[in-house]
Structures are given as structure tokens and as C-alpha cells.
């Protein structure tokens, strides 16, 4: 009798102790200005309310470089991190450090598998390796052309029509250049930034001229193809030959302000700037897809969710639930409106909220429409170095230190040396 009671008591006690909560820590970068940490924190709290037993711990890590460095450092130092939003192009580095697992491994049910297929295909390119999905799109962008409608009117151009191809862009830009009495330029025709993410901008030029800069296996680059060289030559000519763009490098950080101050009539920049431009521009502006050469094109950019290897099965299940929740259509729509990033799945654009927003602000859907021409962002093994080689080559050409052909051939040679061991 006594034993039975004791056992019953023990069982009761065991049942009344709550199961330990699963805690998920994730690092994320903010790539657009604004108090978006509050939005993320809000999401975390909302998810926790709907899912007692899971605690979410979001950690703001700075920009993409910071987020990668910090997340990897935390892992190395044995600090917890289960998922992170990292640069979509960090894939190969993470693979080489052997710290991530594919989402396919955790996506068990039919519903999960359908979810993996619910995103825009061009956004999955950077996150897929050998058929498995390692990166779930979260904050993604493309490059778009912003144009100043007042400036267009002033120059005698149709303010509703943006240039559709390279020739048009160069001719329209020439009309838009404004000079003062002493011949100094007070407004440029077009500006494309070449600091910060020069390689990203250049991918657009290359893609428009028909070529991608790397292969899906991440072990080969294409820097010295004649069409690619021609693309860089066009970029250089905009400044050096047609004089519609300043010579030398154009600073990423200050370009938006230069546009809103009317110092340039057109600019190529990330959709991530959309909300910021909207709030600070004092003139009507348009947003268009990038002009075509042989075809239209733009690289995608931004961050994906990665799942780290050092996670328990419970943590993986909780991570899957959280990421699925975050990328549900309503929330993807919400995030897109708050940030200016493109919503990552077609269904988000069918939600009433986003539909209404797009009607009032049609500029918001241009990037989405450009998806069908989009290509993966430059990503290979040894990605940091391989990218820097291209950045340096671009900057060397734009500042006239080397010809595009010489710069790109040298960069390709160095990249070959770095990537050969991976074939």
C-alpha cells in the first residue's frame, strides 16, 4: 500500500514540474535604417504568446559582416545560437566551417515540405546547395532604379517613363546633367554606388549583359568573360566617356542623401532604401526595374535564416516553427511594409494589407516584378576574398588606375588560385 502511494506521489510530482522551455537565440542584422529592432522584438513576443514553452532571444548584430562575424564567434566560443539571419552569400563559408544543417532535414511533414517550396525561386538560389535548402529567405532585396520626376520634367523628358535599356539610360542621363555658370556639374544624370557593395552593383551590369559571375557549386568565377568586361567598360564609360556620372568611386552611404538633395537625377540602389527615400524626398519620384542590355537583370540581396548544427531536436523543431511563423504571408507582408524589403513569397502579395499598400504606393512592387529577371548574389568558397578581388578590380577601373580588361583578368587569375582546391 505504502509503495503504491509513494509511486503515485512521485508520479504526480513529476507531472507537475513544467517541462523546461526551449530557448532560441538568433543573431540578425539590420540593413535598413529605422527602429526595426522593436519590430523584431515584437514578433518574438507574439510568437512566444502563441507558443508557450519556447523563448525567443533576438540579438541585433549590426550589419551583415558584423552578424556573420558575431554569430560564428559565438558558436566558436560555445555561446548558444540556434538560428541566425545571415547574408545569403555566407552559405559556402558556413558549409566549410561545418556549422549549418539543411532545413530539409527538419521539414518532416507534407505541410513543411510545401512551405519550403512557397518562396520565390530566385530567392532560393543563394540558399540551396546540392539540392538541399540551407537558407530560408527573410529580408531580401534587389537593386532598382530611382528617378526624380521633377528633374525629368525640367529636362524635357516624360516624367513617367524610366529608361528601359542602356542606350536610353545614357541618353536620358546626358539630358539630365545640369551645370552652373562656371561649367561645374550641379546635378548628375545617374549615380551607381561603387563602395560598400560594388560587386553587387556590378552583378547587375554583368547579368544585363548576359552573364552570371559564378557557378552554383561555388567553385568557379567568370570575371574575365568578354561580355563581363564589356559590362564594366560601360560602367566606366558612364563616368569617363559620357560624363553623366562622377568619376572615381561613388559612396554607398551618402548616395541616398545626394539623390534626395537633387544632386543626381537617377540612382541605382537597394529596395531597402525605399521607405527612407519616401520619407525624405521632397519631389515625386519613380522606381523602375534596372535597364536592360541584352536582357533585364539584377542580383538579389539580403539575409536568409540558417539553422545551426549545434542544436537539439527540440530546438530544431522550435526553430522550424518560428521561421515558418515569421514567413507566413501576413507577417511577410507586414515586414515588407515596415522595412521596404520585398515580401519573400507570392502569397504575401495576395494579403489585403499588402494589396492595399501596393495600390497606394506602386513603387513597392517593382522589385517583386523584377524577380523573374533576378539572379543569385555573388557567393563562392573563400567568399570574402573572392568578393574583395572583384571589389578592388571595380574600384581600380572606375578610378582609371587600370583598364576594365586588365583589372578583371588579374582578379580572375587570383580567384582561380583560391578556388582550385575546391574542385
Amino acid at each position: 500500500m505504502k509503495t503504491a502511494l509513494t509511486v503515485a506521489l512521485a508520479a504526480l510530482l513529476a507531472a507537475s514540474v513544467p517541462a523546461k522551455a526551449v530557448e532560441l537565440t538568433f543573431y540578425y542584422p539590420i540593413a535598413v535604417g529605422g527602429p526595426l529592432t522593436k519590430v523584431i522584438d515584437g514578433y518574438a513576443r507574439d510568437f512566444e504568446k502563441e507558443n508557450p514553452g519556447v523563448k525567443i532571444n533576438p540579438i541585433y548584430a549590426g550589419n551583415y559582416d558584423d552578424a556573420r562575424i558575431k554569430a560564428l564567434a559565438a558558436l566558436k566560443a560555445g555561446q548558444p545560437a540556434q538560428i541566425s539571419v545571415l547574408y545569403s552569400i555566407d552559405l559556402y563559408e558556413l558549409l566549410e566551417q561545418d556549422v549549418i544543417v539543411p532545413w530539409d532535414d527538419v521539414a518532416a511533414t507534407a505541410d513543411d515540405k510545401a512551405w519550403l517550396k512557397a518562396f520565390y525561386p530566385s530567392l532560393m538560389m543563394n540558399g540551396t546547395y546540392k539540392g538541399k535548402v540551407y537558407g530560408i529567405p527573410f529580408q531580401r532585396s534587389t537593386i532598382v532604379l530611382y528617378w526624380n520626376k521633377d528633374a525629368f520634367k525640367e529636362a524635357g523628358l516624360d516624367p513617367e517613363k524610366a529608361p528601359a535599356n542602356w542606350n536610353e539610360m545614357e541618353r536620358m542621363a546626358a539630358k539630365l546633367v545640369k551645370k552652373d555658370a562656371s561649367g561645374n556639374v550641379t546635378r548628375w544624370g545617374v549615380m551607381v554606388p561603387s563602395t560598400g557593395y560594388a560587386y553587387w552593383m556590378f552583378q547587375a551590369f554583368a547579368r544585363q549583359n548576359g552573364h552570371d559571375l559564378m557557378n552554383p557549386e561555388g567553385n568557379h568565377t567568370n570575371y574575365a568573360h568578354p561580355d563581363v568586361i564589356a559590362a564594366l567598360q560601360y560602367w566606366r564609360d558612364l563616368g569617363a566617356k559620357y560624363k553623366v556620372m562622377p568619376e572615381g568611386t561613388v559612396e554607398w552611404g551618402t548616395l541616398r542623401q545626394q539623390f534626395t538633395e537633387g544632386k543626381t537625377a537617377m540612382m541605382w540602389h537597394t529596395t531597402g532604401n525605399l521607405t527612407a527615400v519616401k520619407t525624405s524626398a521632397t519631389f515625386p519620384f519613380g522606381v523602375a526595374m534596372l535597364p536592360a542590355s541584352k536582357q533585364r537583370g539584377s542580383p538579389t540581396g539580403g539575409g536568409n535564416f540558417y539553422l545551426f548544427k549545434k542544436t537539439t531536436p527540440e530546438e530544431r523543431k522550435a526553430s522550424l516553427a518560428f521561421v515558418k511563423w515569421l514567413t507566413a504571408p501576413e507577417r511577410a507582408a507586414d515586414w515588407s511594409i515596415a522595412t521596404g524589403y520585398v515580401a519573400v513569397r507570392p502569397e504575401a502579395y495576395e494579403t489585403p494589407k499588402l494589396k492595399e499598400y501596393a495600390q497606394g504606393f506602386p513603387q513597392a512592387v517593382v522589385a517583386r516584378d523584377q524577380f523573374k529577371f533576378a539572379t543569385a548574389e555573388l557567393s563562392t568558397f573563400q567568399t570574402g576574398r573572392v568578393r574583395k578581388l572583384l571589389d578592388d578590380a571595380i574600384q581600380a577601373s572606375l578610378t582609371g588606375q587600370k583598364t576594365p580588361a586588365a583589372a578583371l583578368k588579374a582578379a580572375q587569375g587570383e580567384a582561380e588560385k583560391l578556388l582550385k582546391p575546391y574542385r
Binding site: 561545418d98 561645374n184 562622377p246 542623401q257 545626394q258 588606375q401
Partner: protein, 287 residues
């Protein structure tokens, strides 16, 4: 007994010093002899292989050259300016305290803040420099985007920040000079310039040596501004050795190569300090 006490008192500081200065320096040297290990490609002994790669690396040579010009551009200028400022402030100058404060203020600002502010100066067209230039009809220039001007621009900023700091040391030295010397010189009819050249300057030599060594170490250590202004560009035109080390170690994760670069940096620092001590030592007049 005293021996033991001496070492005991020293021990806490010694542990930290050895742990974070001497040991890492030795470990860096050791690491430079191996390749970086990843899970996929484990580390192996390279001997001098990393150094061979270093010699082949065009970015390394570019960066080294930049450090050389940077040192040459900032050190003599800021020392000369510091001396001038100290002499002015030491004299009976109206609003002397205000002027002294103006010269010293940049020193209390962190380099990051300084870079944030100066980024605006150098922005083409809407930046302050170009706006002032526009008033005089000078064309807008892409200061930070032109490899020919970017290093000079960073130098100007560093001179602005450092001169006031060195001024203080000269001020201290000037104030300890006997005023009778100046009296005597005036009686003899010597001009101010002659007095400076023959008397003041030589007497300031110990300070100059101190400031020189300090300035040299700083020129290698000060890379904070690159994070905000140019990230080393365009095409490594403004990059400096310590910044390159940071990139290699924390962006490329190539710790072995970063160690190799660090060894070069350490040798440069040590070599330059020794050189300066020997050269200037001869000309120092101690009282």
C-alpha cells in the same frame, strides 16, 4: 626576504602583461608558421610558406606603402604644428585659454566620432569642402573616391586630431625652460627665429623624441577611421596594415595569414622605435 616581496608585488601585473603582450606576441610568431585550419582543411606546418605568400601579395605591398606615406605625411607635420601651437599658447596671446582649448579639443573625441564628422566634409557636392569650394568656383571633387587624394584626406584628419595632443607635451617642456635664456638672447640682439633654432629647438629634443616615438606608434595603431570613411578603398588606396590584419582575420577568417602580417607589424614597430632612439639620442641634450 626582499627578493620574494619584490616578485610577489610584481606578480599580478606580470601575469597580465605576459598573458596579453608577451605570450600573444610569441604565439603569433608560432601561428605564422602554420596554415589556417577549418573543419574541412585541417591546419598543417607551412614553415616560411606564409611569408612567401606575403611577398607575393600585392595588397600587402600596397598597404605597407600606404603606412609609409601615412607616417611621413602625419608625423613631421603634426610635430611641427604642435611645436608652433605650444609656442603661441605659451606666449602672451589674447584669449589664450580659449585658443588652447580649441587646439586640444580634438584629442578628447574618439576617432570614430571624428570620422563620422569628417565623412561629411569630404562628401562630393553636398559636403562642406565642396560647398566652400563652390563659393570660390572650384569644381567638386570626389575626395574619398579618388585614389590620389584619399590618403591625403585621411592624413589631414589625423593631423587635426593629434597635433593638440602633442602640443601639451611641448607646452610642459616650454614652461620648464628658464625665462632668463630668452632675456639673454634679446639683450644679445638675436632674432626670434635664431633663438628658436639655436636654443629652444635643441632644448626641446627630449620632448621631440618622446613625441616622435608616440606618433610613430600611433600611425600604425590608428585605423579606426577606415571603418567609417573608406573601408580601405578605393582599391586599397587608403588601407593600412592593422586594418588589413583585421580584414584578413575577421572577414576572411584566415588567422594564419593574419598572424604573418602581425609579425611584420611587430618587427616594424620594434625596428622603428630602436632606430628613432638611436638617431635622436645623439642629438638630445639632457639637462
Amino acid at each position: 626576504m626582499k627578493h620574494v616581496y619584490g616578485w610577489l608585488l610584481l606578480t599580478p601585473a606580470a601575469i597580465l602583461l605576459v598573458g596579453f603582450t608577451h605570450y600573444p606576441a610569441a604565439a603569433t610568431l608560432w601561428d605564422s608558421l602554420f596554415s589556417t585550419g577549418t573543419v574541412v582543411h585541417p591546419s598543417r606546418f607551412e614553415g616560411l610558406g606564409n611569408y612567401a605568400a606575403l611577398a607575393d601579395d600585392p595588397i600587402f605591398w600596397r598597404v605597407l606603402g600606404n603606412n609609409f606615406w601615412f607616417a611621413l605625411g602625419t608625423i613631421p607635420t603634426s610635430i611641427a604644428l604642435a611645436m608652433l601651437m605650444a609656442i603661441w599658447v605659451n606666449d602672451r596671446l589674447p584669449a589664450r585659454a580659449l585658443v588652447r582649448m580649441a587646439y586640444f579639443t580634438p584629442t578628447v573625441l574618439p576617432m570614430i566620432a571624428v570620422a563620422n564628422i569628417w565623412l561629411f566634409f569630404y562628401t562630393p557636392q553636398i559636403g562642406l569642402l565642396d560647398q566652400i569650394g563652390a563659393k570660390f568656383g572650384v569644381a567638386s571633387h570626389n575626395w574619398l573616391g579618388d585614389p590620389n587624394t584619399v590618403l591625403a584626406c585621411t592624413m589631414a584628419m589625423v593631423i587635426w586630431k593629434e597635433s593638440g595632443f602633442f602640443m601639451i607635451f611641448y607646452l610642459a617642456a616650454l614652461q620648464s625652460l628658464s625665462p632668463e635664456l630668452e632675456e639673454a638672447a634679446r639683450i644679445e640682439g638675436a632674432s626670434r627665429w635664431t633663438f628658436f633654432r639655436r636654443v629652444t629647438f635643441p632644448l626641446l629634443m627630449p620632448t621631440t623624441l618622446f613625441v616622435l616615438v608616440n606618433a610613430t606608434i600611433n600611425s600604425f595603431k590608428l585605423v579606426d577611421h577606415l571603418f567609417i570613411l573608406t573601408k580601405g578603398g578605393p582599391d586599397n588606396a587608403s588601407s593600412l596594415l592593422l586594418y588589413y590584419i583585421y580584414q584578413v582575420a575577421f572577414s576572411f577568417f584566415d588567422t594564419a595569414y593574419a598572424s604573418t602580417l602581425t609579425v611584420v607589424l611587430l618587427l616594424l614597430l620594434a625596428g622603428l622605435a630602436l632606430l628613432q632612439f638611436q638617431l635622436v639620442e645623439k642629438r638630445v641634450h639632457y639637462r
